[in-house]
């Protein structure tokens, strides 16, 4: 990309998004379930507690996915279903009430409690939405209790966040006022950057979902225009549409170009003059591009292969191919939402191999045959692939790190450059 090209002039080619061929796979899926989202959601909503109603496997998963146990007293826990619950010796609802009592006694600071459904709770048809209603009545107004499913049979990895946010939408206060809502978890530092840029553009009534605190739920109504900050929020978008809000279609705010197009789409939706938007974005765009230029030296011309993980794969691939000159081998995604990704797909190279779903053994065969310079994959696959001589980037870091926005564009590119630089450095 020419360093001086204003991003407003980047023409979005009118490829029909249905034109890109997609390899659909159905087999063993090496992905996390939606419970994993708790790891970042509980950091974001700082007075919320996530109670998984599930098995020892669920508890073990969250603690393993969190990598190390950082927090001696986390704001998540598991109500582990035991034999006597299944045998009907204990009433599941009584048990749940008892556990919530225990929890609230210990953590009276909690304002929002999510009962999170799991595979076993769904298979035994435990109705958590009814339990949430009952508990909400009991603890009102000190505590609100909501429920959603993070089960592996219903949700894949980031879809857990989608389910969580979709559960929040009916709780949002109603307001007919003109407002912008940014939807999807962002790091606090990114949120603040975005707020400043919107304010400079002249958009001041901006809400973020999820908010940092349960009391700061953004209002929604006919005057609300929302823009997705994450590509995996299908259910949340439907719920917001239902509340009368309208979606601003845009690529996702990854990289200088993606972030600029995202802000421009928001600006246009609020009738901000093009010159004003360009003024506000000029400096951060230039800064992001300068940061990217340094990583481009490492990444340009290198091939990259994505295993499906977070649904961020397509926006990331678009960023890496267009702004860093990487060559896309296969771009796998667990689920392809053609409507929300239409602007992204239009920016993808015409010859890209997209794949949706997974049959991990077959995909590993394709990956070995393609012999890419770098593979983006989950933690279960990374070391075995490294041992076979491949260079890998763990995908989970792309979800946990602040990577959105102009100021993080260089950091995002660096996450891909680092494994390659490291491999070149090591003499052992």
């Amino acid at each position: 990309m020419n360093d001086l090209t204003p991003i407003s002039d980047v023409a979005i080619p009118k490829i029909g998004c249905g034109d890109l061929p997609v390899l659909r796979e159905r087999g063993q899926r090496e992905v996390f379930c939606g419970l994993t989202g708790i790891v970042w959601l509980h950091r974001r909503i700082q007075d919320a507690f996530f109670l998984v109603v599930g098995s020892r496997t669920c508890a073990h998963l969250i603690q393993s996915a969190a990598g190390v146990m950082i927090f001696a007293e986390p704001r998540f826990a598991t109500a582990i279903i035991e034999e006597r619950d299944l045998a009907g010796l204990a009433d599941a609802n009584d048990e749940l009430d008892r556990i919530v009592d225990q929890l609230i006694e210990r953590r009276p600071d909690i304002k929002l409690l999510f009962l999170v459904g799991s595979c076993p709770s769904e298979v035994i048809k435990l109705d958590l939405s009814r339990a949430a209603l009952r508990l909400s009545k009991r603890y009102t107004p000190a505590l609100r209790v909501l429920s959603y499913s993070g089960s592996g049979i219903e949700t894949t990895f980031t879809e857990g966040e989608d389910a969580c946010l979709a559960a929040l939408v009916p709780e949002l206060p109603a307001s007919p006022a003109q407002s912008l809502m940014v939807v999807g978890t962002l790091a606090d530092v990114v949120e603040d950057q975005f707020r400043r840029l919107f304010a400079e553009m002249g958009i001041t009534n901006v809400g973020f979902l999820p908010p940092r605190r349960a009391a700061d739920m953004p209002p929604v109504g006919k005057g609300t225009k929302y823009i997705l900050a994450q590509p995996f929020l299908a259910g949340t978008a439907v719920a917001l549409d239902h509340r009368g809000a309208t979606r601003i279609a845009a690529p996702f705010p990854l990289g200088a170009e993606g972030t600029a197009l995202w802000f421009k789409a928001a600006g246009r939706a609020f009738d901000i003059a093009k010159s004003k938007i360009d003024d506000v974005l000029a400096k951060p765009v230039a800064r992001a591009r300068a940061a990217l230029m340094r990583q481009r030296a490492v990444l340009e011309g290198r091939t990259i292969f994505f295993f499906p993980d977070s649904q961020l794969e397509i926006p990331l691939a678009r960023f890496l191919s267009r702004e860093l000159g990487m060559v896309l081998s296969e771009v796998g995604t667990p689920f392809l939402h053609r409507e929300h990704l239409a602007e992204e797909l239009a920016l993808m190279p015409a010859d890209v191999q997209l794949s949706e779903g997974q049959d991990v053994e077959k995909q590993l065969d394709r990956c070995r045959a393609a012999a890419p310079d770098i593979v983006v994959c989950g933690l279960g696959l990374a070391n075995p692939l490294e041992a076979q001589g491949m260079t890998t980037k763990w995908s989970i870091e792309l979800v946990f790190s602040p990577v959105q926005g102009f100021e993080q564009a260089g950091d995002l590119a660096e996450l891909f450059a680092r494994p390659l630089r490291r491999r070149a450095l090591l003499k052992v």
Binding site: T57, A79, C119
Partner: protein, 512 residues
């Protein structure tokens, strides 16, 4: 239901995975929903294994539940056999698949594969990881005995042989313990028939009955099997965990008895430095240090003996998360006149540690967190494992070298004797003020650190309030670097006032 913040053990199918992953030529087909594949990362990330565990998951989803999950399972078994050509297959269900009752055993056997297919029943709502590992090891060995041809046993062998049973994948120091014990048995002149499950093949399991006796290295994993082998084949077994000098000597004596050899030479030599290090005067300060011990039963009981008899500590707490070994831990606790703690509730353990107010905690990674919060020194002695429990260096718990490791790793977290002495002597000096904690414990200094005095010849830009506020949002461990870089950048650019723009310009300038 049980409220759980952290769990000490995974579900039982994780135990089965530890057996399958330890072995060669075994494949495990697990009927499990999407997401259960997280278990792979335990092995590839925590243990840094260079291969994926030999596990195929059916990863069914909601849409499959309406259809035929049983067919999905059958296909997974057939595909796994075709692709991996294992010598034996184990099949089972994880917690969710247990509820949908597809009968993995029946389905897999119906395929009539040309290799042994061993079904596992691991009740996920009653049992846990170690139980699952023990059950899998037992079932798999029973299934393999007779399924593979083995040479007839020679009846008049001169040298007695043993099996070493217990080391698994993802085991706490199993790799190094095994090396230590294998070397020790070599020095004694005892030959080893089979080591299992680590690096064993199914055909090796079939040879287990050939040995004269069994060594149960980890009772949590191998006691069930050893008990059955004794009943079935009359094989005696040794269930002495050789952790610490005394227990290692007891172990050697028992091996010598069963192998019918003379071990006097080895029993009289001083093979560990622990003996002298513990007697040297610097160790005087260890006397009567109050220690709280918690872990799996084997490691906790062994650690208590070492702490009391070999380091001169006072054992003020002893407990385990393994209910299966409650009796053993209660018996051990009586030796120290304390009540054993048997609980897998992290919060109960935390309360017990707080109440005991020990000077040292010997525990798992969970207790390391508790100890850190309470500002108490801690050493890790047991699973659940953490990436730090797979050190690059040789670091066994067992045998004479293991005793050396225990001395170092338990004593170093405590203040060194001389350091403690000096701290008492210079208590009122500003560096050694009364509340100072040893620097290596990472405790927060009680006195506020004075801001570094800036040298006057260095022009430093002033931080604007907005930039200062922004800086605070950067994680603390890189904040110092961000501050220095921004100031350097501001100085280079001749900027007098640092605002947010400067901060991010500097970030962009130095990033790469």
């Amino acid at each position: 239901m049980q409220l759980t913040l952290w769990t000490y053990e995974g579900p039982p199918h994780i135990g089965a995975m530890r057996i399958a992953t330890a072995m060669r030529g075994v494949h495990y087909v697990l009927h499990a929903p999407q997401g259960d594949t997280y278990a792979d990362l335990l092995f590839t990330m925590i243990e840094r294994r260079d291969q994926r565990p030999p596990v195929t998951y059916t990863t069914f989803q909601a849409r499959d539940l309406g259809g035929d999950t049983a067919q999905l399972f059958k296909n997974a078994v057939a595909d796994a056999y075709e692709r991996f050509k294992p010598e034996a297959i184990i099949v089972g269900a994880s917690c969710t698949a247990e509820l949908i009752q597809d009968d993995p055993a029946g389905l897999a056997l119906a395929l009539d594969l040309p290799v042994p297919v061993i079904p596992l029943e691991l009740p996920a709502y009653q049992r846990k990881e170690n139980w699952g590992a023990a059950e899998t090891f037992y079932r798999l060995t029973r299934g393999c005995i007779g399924a593979f041809p083995r040479p007839a046993r020679t009846t008049d062998r001169l040298v007695k042989t043993c099996n070493i049973l217990g080391p698994t994948a993802l085991g706490f120091r199993h790799r190094d313990d095994l090396h230590e014990i294998t070397t020790l048995l070599g020095q004694l002149g005892v030959s080893i028939n089979v080591i299992a499950p680590l690096n064993a093949r199914p055909s090796d399991l079939a040879r287990i009955p050939d040995a004269d006796f069994n060594i149960v290295l980890y009772p949590e994993i191998a006691l069930n099997l050893a008990t059955w082998l004794e009943r079935q084949y009359g094989q005696k077994f040794i269930n002495i965990t050789p952790i610490g000098v005394g227990a290692t000597r007891d172990f050697i004596a028992k091996v010598a008895e069963l192998a019918d050899i003379d071990a006097t030479a080895m029993l009289t030599q001083t093979a560990s430095r622990l003996n002298w290090y513990s007697r040297s005067v610097d160790s005087t300060y260890l006397t009567g240090k109050r220690v709280f011990i918690f872990g799996d039963a084997t490691h906790a009981i062994a650690a208590a003996r070492v702490a009391a008899d070999e380091l001169g500590f006072e054992v003020v707490g002893l407990g385990t998360y393994a209910r299966e070994f409650a009796r053993e831990i209660r018996t051990a606790a009586k030796l120290y006149n304390i009540e054993a703690l048997v609980s897998d509730d992290y919060l109960t353990v935390e309360a017990a540690i707080t109440a005991a107010n020990p000077a040292l905690v010997l525990g798992t990674q969970m207790e390391r967190h508790i100890a850190k919060r309470l500002g108490i020194p801690c050493a890790v002695i047991s699973a659940p494992v953490h990436v730090q429990d797979f050190p690059a260096r040789y670091s066994p718990m067992m045998g004479f070298e293991g005793a050396n490791v225990l001395f170092d790793s338990w004593v170093h977290p405590l203040m060194m004797g001389l350091e403690e002495h000096l701290l008492g002597m210079f208590r009122e000096d500003f560096e050694f003020h009364g509340d100072a904690a040893p620097s290596h414990l990472g405790g927060k200094p009680v006195q506020a650190q004075p801001e570094p005095v800036l040298t006057t010849n260095q022009a430093t830009a002033i931080w604007g309030a907005d930039a200062e506020a922004e800086l605070k949002k950067i994680p603390f461990f890189v904040r110092g670097k961000a501050r220095r870089n921004t100031e350097r950048y501001a100085a280079e650019q001749g900027t007098a006032l640092i605002n947010i723009e400067t901060l991010y310009n500097a970030k962009a300038h130095f990033s790469s």
